[in-house]
Amino acid sequence: MISFPEFKEAFPELIGNYPAKLALILNLIDPNCGGVLLAGKRGLGKSLLLKLLKKYLNLFKIPYVEIPLNVTEENLVGGIDVEKTLEIGYRVYQKGLLDKAKNAYVLIEEINLFPAEYLSLIFQRSYNYTIIATLNPEEGFISSHFLDKIGMCVFLEKLEDKKAYFELLRFWEKEKDLENSYLESYSNLYKYIEIIKSWRTNVKYEDFIWDYIVEICLKNRAFTHRAEIFLFFASRAYAALKGDSIIKPDYVNFVAPLVLLHRMKNVEEKLQPQQEKKENQEQFQKNQEEPQNQSQNKPEKLPQKEQEKSSSQNEENKEENEEPDMDSLEIFLPSAPKEEIFDLGDVFKPKRLLLKKDRIIRSISGRRTKSKTHLKGGRFVRSVIFSKDKDIDLFGTIKTASPFQKLRGRKDKLIIYKEDIRYKEKERKISHLVVFVVDGSGSMAAQRRMIATKGAILSLLMDCYQKRDKVAMILFRKFNADVVLPPTSSVELAYKKLKDLPTGGNTPLSAGLFEAYKLIKKYHLKSPEDRILLMLVTDGKANIPIKIASDPLEETENICYELKNLSYVDAVVVDTEIKKDFLKMDLAKEIAEWLGALYFALEEIKSESLLNIVNLSKNFLYRNEAKS
């Protein structure tokens, strides 16, 4: 019997990251485990691990398919085989990558960068193949529906242990020939996996394990049924890996984090009120403690039952090794969501917003831009018969013409008729311009109001950065309004401007809005495809008109109506008035109504609840688009 080189020793080029290795191995043992999503920030070894897997698959001739980011629909699902069609004279189809992928592993790098249409094609038949993908959460997530179809998800982590760190440096200081190193380790792994593979179907289970699996999933608020299914297969594969003949609750516990992490409700991120989310978290933590306790109670039983013939010393080692690993897994689980909350202050937020953004893009996809420069850009989506842009899709045209070549009597060159001509439909991500209109009047200086306001704007800017929106900023104070920041994609610059924003003086609110109106109009001429979000930050106490001797509020109202009429503009009003004051006037609320804007009091957008607002407003944008 071959003794298994602990799964930690598999893929030796990647140091640490045992959960990820385990996930891959479980999927190699049983493709029913549903695939792995390797998530993590830059430079943690996601791509490396994928490469190593590829090396393994290559070495042992296990079928796999890679889907590169440049893929076209044609190659994904199949299409006309031009060569054969020309030869035979009627349409011959060729298989696409997804057909070839049947019962194979599908490797996808940077899965979150794929357009949603392609993802839906890929995931439509995901039961046919096992997807192993990488994803960098900083660049956005994939929709939870797709996420759910992937069996496991692992967050790669940075090595904290100094020894491991040294090892890593020593390993990588030289250029490596990845293809030809550690071949022995790989063939050991292969031998062992082959044995486990045949063993896995012998693994039995008692009835209570069903209850146990269901319970764990429910406790962790993973309500999708796939959770239970994948968890079962994963546990079975792990039992087989341990050389055991029965699935034990311990095994379920051990692999549960891999399967459940991306299925828990709070990772999925529905539009939930903040409080509920906290409850989830607490609940989740409680849940975490329970299995942990169980797993701590049980290990004593294990050694007796182990029936492997390897030396007892080896056995001990294994147990020893297992302990810290259990720990690392258990710690790893709660820490992953923690990373979402603390690290960037609000990683939760960008994720969710990017999801939303995705949807917005989709609804606009196919929107054409008319200027020449845009014609060149954009991602090719499909070939169409009619298009305004007259950007000919040559390949589509050839495809259309190819079945008729014999009929048309082709000798050498293809004979193409006018009706064969196909055009390219392209799509590009549209961006948003967020125009901040900020009140810098004296009333804002009261009770350090401006500090809170700046904090809020800063948080909003942060959000724009993550979504790569453009920003502009208009400040109104004293007697007029200034564009302190013309539309730019450098949020850095916006931050600098925000830092030195002065306050004091009157409130020429109408002038501020008018300036915004002018800027928006001008910007719209230049980039007609961009959507614009007007973010008005004020207490609404307008007291200086544009025209001398007119009513400032009335003027404001008129401009608000003008702005409201611009179909490409959505507005949000952030009210900075101190609500405990007697003199509370709620003017901003009224202005929000005039603008048809969403209304928030400053208190409501303090960093925590901030995500809510932008989220809602995005939702709002989305709704508006659906209308139009």
């Binding site: 920030k41 943690l44 490469k51 590169p68 980011l69 440049n70 190659n75 085989d81 293809l414 590009r428």
Partner: protein
């Protein structure tokens, strides 16, 4: 004729960054932050021109190295037992223009061939041309998002796999990525930023004498390039020799326990994302040692290259002042 590399005045950081990448291409490229007209593209072109020819498989459109990795076509040749001829080729600087289309980057169906012959054929894109050469992207921060995605994809794998318009193809795509940007005009996506091994900041030279020298040399070059080249020939040869020697030396460089300690100390004190920064730091320190024809990495090597390797990887929220972290980096460096 190209302006000689050694005649470029000052801008030592940029020159060093480029040279380190040539000595060890696995460092992963160079991002040059700075204004226009600071000899960025001249330096890249001049360096490519300076370097000796590389060996490629004859007739291969993808510059496959004789020892691999190979493209589909070369693989087939080898499988069929055809003999491979080797030819020598000058290194090139392949430029990726901003308005570039997807097909142009990754390659696509050869339309002309399809129309005239009715057969499918792969037409290589810029990534094919860039294999084992320099890929130069001016104003990389203004590149369209989906093009950046494509670059990320192949930069990560070192292979360009094409699945487009009925064509399946792959070829190696390993290049020295050189990008330039002006940070005022917008940021680079963090993931893409991280793919650049090193990053240098350059400023326009304000010293009067140096400016005069630049002007003099440029005019001299423009009026009589042959003579100018001749004048710089010895310098050029010296540099080539040094680079080649360093390339040979790099596999023998020793790294002492102390240096490892220092690297780990440095990077664990700054909170960096991921491990790439550490690895690049060590690699470029080795390259720097080799460039100075030493067999051992010294603290000075670390000090010299740390800023290049770590500056753009310092973890900070988008609005935090970079200065504070940078200052810390300097503090720690001065302690070493």
């Amino acid at each position: 004729m190209i302006f000689p590399f050694t005649a470029i005045v000052n801008q030592e950081d940029m020159k060093l960054g480029l040279i380190l990448n040539v000595i060890d291409p696995s460092i992963g490229g160079l991002l040059i932050m700075g204004e226009k007209g600071t000899a960025k593209s001249t330096a890249v072109r001049a360096l490519a021109d300076l370097l000796p020819e590389i060996e490629v498989i004859k007739g291969c459109k993808f510059n496959c190295a004789p020892e691999g990795p190979y493209c589909i076509e070369c693989l087939e040749k080898i499988k069929n037992g055809e003999s491979i001829e080797i030819e020598k080729k000058k290194m090139e600087v392949v430029e990726l223009p901003l308005g570039v289309t997807e097909d142009r980057v990754v390659g696509t169906l050869d339309i002309e061939y399809a129309i005239t012959k009715g057969k499918r054929h792969f037409e290589p894109g810029l990534l094919a041309k860039a294999n084992r050469n320099f890929l130069y992207i001016d104003e990389v921060n203004l590149l369209e998002d989906h093009i950046v995605d494509l670059l990320l994809d192949s930069a990560a794998m070192g292979i360009n796999r094409v699945e487009r318009e009925g064509i399946s193809f792959f070829h190696p795509a390993r290049f020295i990525l050189v990008g330039t940007m002006n940070p005022e005009e917008g940021e680079l996506r963090p993931q893409f930023l991280d793919r650049f091994g090193l990053c240098v900041e350059i400023k326009a030279i304000t010293d009067k004498n140096l400016r005069k020298e630049i002007l003099k040399r440029k005019i001299e070059f423009d009026t009589n390039p042959e003579k100018f080249m001749q004048k710089w020939e010895p310098e050029q040869k010296k540099l080539v020799k040094r680079i080649l020697e360093a390339k040979k030396l790099i596999s023998e460089i020793e790294v002492s326990e102390e240096i490892y300690e220092k690297v780990v100390e440095l990077t664990s004190e700054l909170s960096l994302d991921g491990h790439r920064g550490d690895i690049v730091l060590l690699k470029s320190a080795k390259a720097h040692a080799a460039f100075n024809l030493r067999k051992k990495v010294e603290k000075e090597d670390i000090k010299r290259v740390a800023y290049f390797a770590l500056k753009h990887r310092l973890k900070r929220l988008p609005f935090e002042e970079p200065e504070s972290e940078v200052k810390r980096l300097y503090d720690i460096l001065s302690r070493i």
